[in-house]
Amino acid sequence: MAQSFRMKPPMGEDNGWWWQQAAEGNLAIQRCKACSTLRHPPRPMCGDCQSLEWDHVVASGRGTLDSFTVLHHPQFPGFDYPLIIILVKLEEGTRFTSQLINCSEDAVEFGMPVEMVMHEDPDGFRLPMFQPAQGAHA
């Protein structure tokens, strides 16, 4: 199997399931079973109603860009610079931190519609990235 530069998340009880969903192609959002509040990043208890019971929904992958930064330095091996890091407001209401691909540095704008693309590393590790929404001009 090919080596990957990417720092892998530690897989614990609170987050391993989420990465398993990503491996299956899904951008998951944890949901409280008792009060239905969505939460991200995942946690073992609902901060609103204190329930330990949860499931998840699969996000549509559509959202808008709440903020971003373009990273130039320092340059870590394996990443392509300038590296566009984004904070997406998913249409389900939670936010998600990710990378914007298929977009030039000059074309990034606050509020721009984006859509999820499941990225796969050479070693098979998958993580959600985003690109400008293809239907945006339709």
Binding site: R6, M7, K8, P9, P10, M11, G12, D14, N15, H40, P41, G47, D66, S67, F68, T69, V70, L71, H72, H73, P74, F76, F79, P82, L83, I85, L87, T94, R95, T97, S98, Q99, F110, L127
Partner: protein, 389 residues
């Protein structure tokens, strides 16, 4: 907010090592030298120190330092979490101990080979699964490995929302660099900064350029906290601790609080402001000078709003008016700050706060009664108000 701690304790001594890019000595040695310097500054022998407080990020444990400097029996030993967010938190823990009689003379310290040893933002990895590592793992796989990358996300939103320009950030960097010109300890002593230099400096994490970033420093700093009464009998003018608080708000993450309703304010700093003003009985109008935590220039502008020196979105106007300069409304980081003096994780800014109250800053504004010092930005934080006796 209880006023129990108000005026109970004081900073009686400050101690610094030389600041450099390669100390050539251990962090324990830096901590010991800084502690000894603080004791000598106060005129108190190390054998009378009975408490030590530091940062969880500090590699020097309390008892290692105690043995090394020849401290007495210890009644307090503790460390405060969250990087630079610990800074004035260490003072709070010392004050709580002194005010309650748990300990008499407490050293708060931070010593780091921050350039030649373990540098910030080198990434975190490992096989251990802790809630903290899981937190970082939402960012690390995407290449968000540095403090600059985490802060830039908030800085960009804030600047976009309020029309803050690159020149505004540059004004903060230049103001503090000007102070560094009269401070021989400063890394940038003898190296002034022009707006042209600032704008030409390389973009690191857009919108943050090289000169928006603090230093990486080898050095140590120690602060001696004792009762106000005892401090009056020692050899320096006491810096009375009128207010000191820690603050962390709902939805707080370490550096990446991206999931709260607002992205363009600092809720934990607003909370710290509210608490420290209530505890001290003071308000923004009473503050004559400040050491606002400045790992990044954008944080200084945002904190002017958090602490009520101006309204939301008006921080840039204060900066444009020269408010942070020596003859301005709020001389800020008169030692040069973490941007231009040294990055000792905010401990050196507490030392400057004490100097401002003593009247011994290398850029001393006139008529300083109260100085505000804040802890790290974007993390669980705190605020401190020092007063002239």
């Amino acid at each position: 907010m209880s006023q129990f701690l108000k005026d109970k304790a004081a900073i009686a001594g400050i101690g610094l090592t030389e600041f450099s890019k390669k100390s050539g000595v251990s962090e324990l040695s830096l901590a010991a030298q800084a502690t000894l310097a603080a004791c000598e500054d106060a005129g108190l022998p190390p054998s009378e120190i009975d408490g030590f407080v530091s940062y969880t990020l500090d590699s020097t444990d309390e008892i290692e330092l105690a043995r090394t400097v020849g401290a007495g029996d210890l009644k307090l030993f503790t460390k405060v979490n969250y990087g630079g967010g610990a800074a004035v938190g260490t003072i709070l823990h010392a004050v709580m101990a002194v005010a309650t009689g748990v300990a008499d003379n407490v050293i708060c310290y931070r010593a780091m080979n921050g350039r030649s040893g373990q540098r910030m933002g080198q990434g975190i990895s490992g096989q251990i699964v802790s809630s903290d590592l899981v937190h970082w793992s939402w960012y690390m796989p995407y290449g968000m490995l540095t403090p600059g990358s985490w802060i830039a996300m908030i800085a960009n939103k804030y600047m976009h929302h309020h029309g803050v320009t690159a020149e505004d950030l540059g004004r903060v960097a230049i103001s503090q660099r000007n102070y560094a010109q009269s401070n021989p300890r400063s890394f940038f002593h003898g190296k002034p900064l022009t707006m042209e230099d600032y704008l030409a400096s390389k973009m690191i994490a857009d919108p943050l350029r090289l000169y928006d970033f603090c230093q990486e420093t080898d050095g140590g700093c120690a602060i001696l906290v004792t009762s106000a009464e005892r401090a009056r009998d020692l050899q320096q003018k006491p810096a009375i601790i009128r207010g000191v608080v820690q603050a962390s708000t709902r939805g707080q993450e370490q550096m990446t609080s991206y999931y709260r309703d607002e992205l363009d304010s600092l809720p934990e700093m607003e909370m710290a402001a509210k608490l420290v003003y209530a505890q001290s009985g003071l308000g923004p109008d009473d503050i004559n000078a400040a050491c606002l935590y400045d790992a990044f220039t954008s944080e200084v502008i945002m904190q002017l709003e958090s602490f009520g020196f101006c309204g939301r979105g008006e921080g840039k106007d204060m900066v444009r008016d020269g408010a942070l300069d020596i003859d301005g409304r709020l001389p800020n980081n008169t030692h040069g700050g973490l941007l231009s003096e040294a990055y000792i994780h905010g401990m050196n800014s507490i030392a400057e706060g004490a100097r401002l109250v003593r009247g011994t800053s290398t850029s001393q504004p006139k008529g300083v009664e109260h100085v505000l010092v804040s802890s790290g930005v974007g993390v669980p934080t705190g605020a401190l108000i020092l007063a002239r006796d």
